[in-house]
Assembly symmetry: C2
DNA sequence: TCTTGACTGAGAGTTCACTCCAAGGCGTAG
DNA sequence: CTACGCCTTGGAGTGAACTCTCAGTCAAGA
């Protein structure tokens, strides 16, 4: 499939796809005889993974590191695992933090609710 | 307390404090006769709240709206509650999403673990 | 008196991750 | 033949949220 279709299926803009490709995030992208990029289902899987990492706040730089390791083949599996474990840990901490903030916020909202109920009731 | 001490206690840089003040996020900040800002414990509480909102991804623009409502007094409590409820909802969605991503990631890590265990074992 | 270390405001610079533009090349439909 | 709708590239522009620089002021201490 071409860039547009690919972008659509993955939920990114064609601009972003080309941008990621330029960075080297997509590895070896096949090209047609006219120079156009051509994406496969496997590319779809990979960019989906990349997209998820991005969504969880991994910096582009670190994703690039992972991509480079992946390109090197099976010998780098342990390193890749380490990167993911590190990220998973950070993500877990982030989620806990956000949850704590949400709890806090919920209490504040409850307080507002009480205040307003009191006003209405009097 | 002065800007530096205030910044330290809240976990932001003095630059950021001045920046927030310039935006109008801090409301009426008291000044000494030399023009220096002077912060109280109550300011500390407020900026702590602001800081938490920021941490949960609320755009500065929206925090500003909340700050303006707060400055208007008790008549805006319902509006403020609405802002917070809206944000809480978004935050909850965000947390769920991140948790889903984390689960995904955890599975991938488990897969790596299995692969590597297999290699070592053979 | 001079240095140090705080403060001030205006405004320029930085970082990140896109996002877009200009100029041009193919391939098909009218 | 021409218009359309894809695609290509390098490089410029954008927006958010800081972050810093500069030039100047003030107060305390050696």
């Amino acid at each position: 499939m071409n860039v547009k279709q690919f972008a659509e299926r993955v939920g990114l803009s064609p601009h972003t796809i080309r941008y990621y490709d330029k960075l080297g995030l997509l590895g070896e992208v096949r090209r047609g005889p006219n120079g156009h990029r051509y994406f496969s289902e496997r590319d779809l899987e990979w960019i989906g993974f990349v997209h998820r990492l991005r969504d969880t706040g991994m910096p582009v730089e670190q994703m690039l590191e992972y991509a480079r390791l992946r390109a090197e083949g099976d010998t780098t599996m342990a390193a890749r695992q380490a990167v993911l474990e590190c990220h998973a840990e950070a993500l877990d901490a982030h989620i806990r933090q956000q949850q704590a903030h949400l709890d806090n916020l919920t209490r504040k909202i409850a307080w507002y609710r009480q205040q307003l109920a009191g006003k209405t009731g009097s």
